[in-house]
């Protein structure tokens, strides 16, 4: 085996391998591919330097107009906010109830292909309609009100939750399912004892996650008259020019969303990891109820 001569002179004489041109071409191509549409859009939207410079001032005047917020009719705002939460909750319930079977039907490891492929198509078709568009369509038969909003959110949630559930179901360990099949279990038994125990925590976590998203969506639906706090904010900003009250509604919404996100995130963590969450709330819960360890009633895995 020969040792390469690595004296400085020898290194200097070595031919450097030629760099490929392709990475550079791709890099510049991508850059141009981003910049050109951006410029086209900026021109198309009539965004000028003057407008951009004026924006911070305009936003500032909006902020000073909205704050301090005016909480005078907070009972009405609270009831509207509650209505939004109810709409989101019922929407999530509808989504969870229908997406659960749909998830199984769309999973290729449990459903035959001729069922799974059409189900997937239907689910992604549902997903392509934004909630707001669904709400507009539903207003025709069901009229204005939170009922319509709940239906719209529910239908959209079936699409998204169905897809997520089917992905969870496809990701389960096939071993238990096969074992149940080998010991004579039918399709239902495979699902109930092979898949559900593995997939359920993730699916329930997705339900909660969807509830978080639905809260935001239902806060918006009031714009088309489908119930909730959206009408308060948009109506006051757009049609009545009542900025301080709109600010109050906006602040209430943000607060509610933050609180719900925090609670839901801690519950999801608890469900996924199976460990008690170390949040303040759960500590309080233990402090309040005490930890009961009566040997007569020690249950499951005691």
């Amino acid at each position: 085996m020969t040792v390469p001569d690595l004296t400085p002179d020898a290194i200097h004489d070595m031919v450097r391998p030629e760099e490929s041109l392709w990475p550079r071409i791709i890099k510049w191509g991508v850059t141009v591919g981003i910049i050109v549409p951006l410029i086209w859009s900026v021109v198309g939207l009539e965004i000028s330097i003057g407008r951009m410079l004026a924006t911070p001032g305009q936003v500032w005047s909006l902020l000073t107009g909205m704050f301090p917020p005016d909480f005078d009719d907070w009972p009405r705002l609270m009831s509207k906010l509650l209505e939004s939460l109810y709409v989101a909750w019922i929407g999530t319930l509808i989504g969870a109830a229908f997406s659960f079977p749909a998830g199984f039907m769309a999973a290729t490891n449990i459903a035959p292909r001729w069922v799974a492929i059409p189900t997937r198509g239907i689910l992604s078709g549902i997903r392509a309609f934004p909630e707001l568009v669904l709400a507009i369509i539903f207003i025709v038969p069901f009229g204005l009100g939170p009922f319509t909003g709940a239906l719209a959110i529910g239908l959209h949630s079936i699409g998204t939750l169905g897809k997520l559930s089917s992905e969870v179901i496809e990701g389960v360990d096939e071993g238990p399912v096969e074992a149940i099949g080998a010991s004579g279990g039918n399709l239902f038994m495979k699902m109930r004892f092979g898949i559900v125990p593995q997939a359920m925590p993730n699916i329930v976590a997705y339900w909660l996650y969807r509830f978080e998203i639905n809260v935001r969506a239902s806060a918006v639906l009031g714009i088309v008259g489908a119930g909730g706090i959206g009408a308060e904010i948009v109506g006051r900003l757009r049609f009545r020019g009542d900025w301080p009250k709109a600010g109050a509604a906006l602040l209430l919404t943000i607060g509610a969303v933050l609180v719900i996100d925090a609670i839901s995130a801690s519950v999801r963590r608890r469900i996924i990891t199976g460990q008690p969450s170390r949040t303040v709330i759960s500590k309080w819960m233990t402090a309040i109820t005490g930890s009961h360890r009566d040997p007569r009633f020690e249950i499951e895995n005691a």
Partner: protein, 448 residues
């Protein structure tokens, strides 16, 4: 090899109690309650019977064997259910929320008695579960009452002619509330968190169901006249777009293009802004604690505001009907989503290269550029495509609040009740979203 100690096969450890062992007692308890209810009168006597039956249930599951507990339960039942019946009997305008709450309070009194018995016999509990038990019985009664009203059962009593229904209904409601409460009592030993979760979900659902007037019957009624409804929507009217003399806002092609432009500007600028923000909002790459908290809470707060609220805020600020407002809204929306996705990815990066860069004397920004960013670059591209896809979906609707794009067209047509034209726009939106999603998924699969 030394022999292992032989397990003693004669003495088996006692079987642990499982929650399914409680099913039998609860079923028998319910049936007995039903029989007692059919034959017995409403009021204190009925309450005493309920109390005695709950004691029987507690006896069966070996919670208590003391006469004092039996007395407490019987008296508690008599007092609680007579309050319950008093509240319901005093009503004159049907069961309002207030009457329901009064009635539920009566049952809650019995729940307190049951909770006290449970507390007395379970070492290790604080007194708080007594209150929780009261809440379970009372809440159960309230929910059952609301359900009965929602199903239209309780309205019938008002007529006067159907007085014989009264006793049976009272009994049915109290049976249901008793079962809910007793199940809650049992659950305190078996599965505290899950029973809370189930109870909470159930109560909230019934409340919400009642509050927004959800009705399955209505859904089916409307579905049965689907042909009439479809008459409004079909056939989709694409023609009006081409008709001459329309104002330029009615041009669907232009509106769709505007939507795409808004999405492009929003996604590009939003993702560019989000990149430095998410490095600052992530512990390993943040220069100091103050910047970390500032960036993180900024991202958290802008994430709570839905896309349409951004649109209406910016439209108010820069003027309604201008697509510029939509672009600004989409920038904020993209920043929020990208910031969340990216900062979570940055949290999980390999810290080795960062340490090496710092050891070689790199500043924080150099570390981010040379050691952190290359690790997440593929994720960044994939997220950017995803954000673009979301932007298309969102910018379709922001026109509703006066921020440009095809949504404005949809809103206009809707306000004129031109449902066939609405249908045409919906079909266009649907196609655009499906196509963009397919392209985005294809590219992401190629990249990652």
């Amino acid at each position: 090899m030394t022999a292992l100690a032989e397990p003693d096969l004669e003495v088996r450890p006692p079987e642990p109690r499982r929650s399914r062992d409680f099913v039998g007692p609860v079923v028998v308890f319910t049936i007995l309650l039903g029989f007692a209810g059919i034959s017995g009168p409403a009021g204190p006597v009925w309450g005493a019977i309920v109390g005695a039956l709950v004691f029987g249930l507690f006896w069966w599951i070996r919670l208590t064997r003391s006469i004092a507990d039996a007395v407490v339960l019987v008296i508690g039942g008599a007092v609680g259910y007579s309050l319950f019946n008093l509240a319901l009997a005093a009503r004159d305008t049907g069961v309002t929320t207030a009457v329901g709450a009064q009635a539920a309070l009566g049952v809650a009194v019995f729940g307190l008695a049951a909770g006290w018995v449970m507390y007395r016999n379970s070492p290790g509990l604080t007194p708080i579960p007594i209150l929780l038990s009261g809440a379970a019985y009372g809440g159960g009664a309230y929910v059952v009452l609301l359900t009965a009203v929602a199903l239209g059962l309780l309205d019938k009593i008002r007529d006067g002619e159907q007085q014989e229904l009264t006793v049976a209904l009272f009994v049915a409601v109290s049976i249901a509330s008793g079962v809910i409460g007793a199940t809650a009592n049992i659950s305190f030993w078996s599965k505290l968190p899950s029973s809370f979760a189930v109870g909470f979900t159930f109560i909230i659902s019934v409340l919400a169901w009642n509050e927004i007037g959800f009705s399955i019957v209505e859904v089916f009624t409307q579905m049965s006249r689907i042909t009439e409804i479809l008459d409004d929507f079909l056939p989709p009217d694409f023609v009006w777009i081409k008709s001459p003399g329309q104002p330029p806002t009615f041009n669907m092609g232009k509106a769709l293009l505007e939507t795409f432009q808004i999405a492009i500007v929003g996604a590009t600028i939003g993702c560019t802004l989000a990149a430095p923000l998410s490095f600052y909002a992530s512990r390993p790459t943040s220069p100091n604690r103050a910047v970390y908290w500032l960036a993180k809470s900024f991202l958290n707060v802008i994430r709570t505001i839905p896309d349409l609220f951004w649109a209406v805020l910016f439209a108010t600020a820069v003027g309604f009907g201008k697509p510029f407002a939509g672009a600004l809204a989409m920038i904020m929306f993209s920043t929020a989503i990208m910031g969340k996705l990216l900062s979570e990815t940055v949290d999980a990066i390999n810290l080795g290269p960062l340490e090496a860069a710092r050891a070689a004397g790199a500043t924080n920004n150099q570390t981010i550029m040379k050691a952190a960013f290359p690790q997440i670059a593929p994720n960044f591209v994939a997220y950017a495509l995803y954000v673009f896809e979301l932007n298309i979906r969102a910018s379709v609707v922001i026109g509703f609040v006066g921020a440009g794009g095809i949504g404005r067209l949809l809103d206009e047509r809707r306000q004129f009740f031109q449902w066939d034209q609405v249908m045409a726009i919906v079909i266009v939106i649907f196609t655009a979203v499906i196509v963009i999603e397919a392209i985005s998924i294809y590219v992401r699969r190629k990249l990652v």
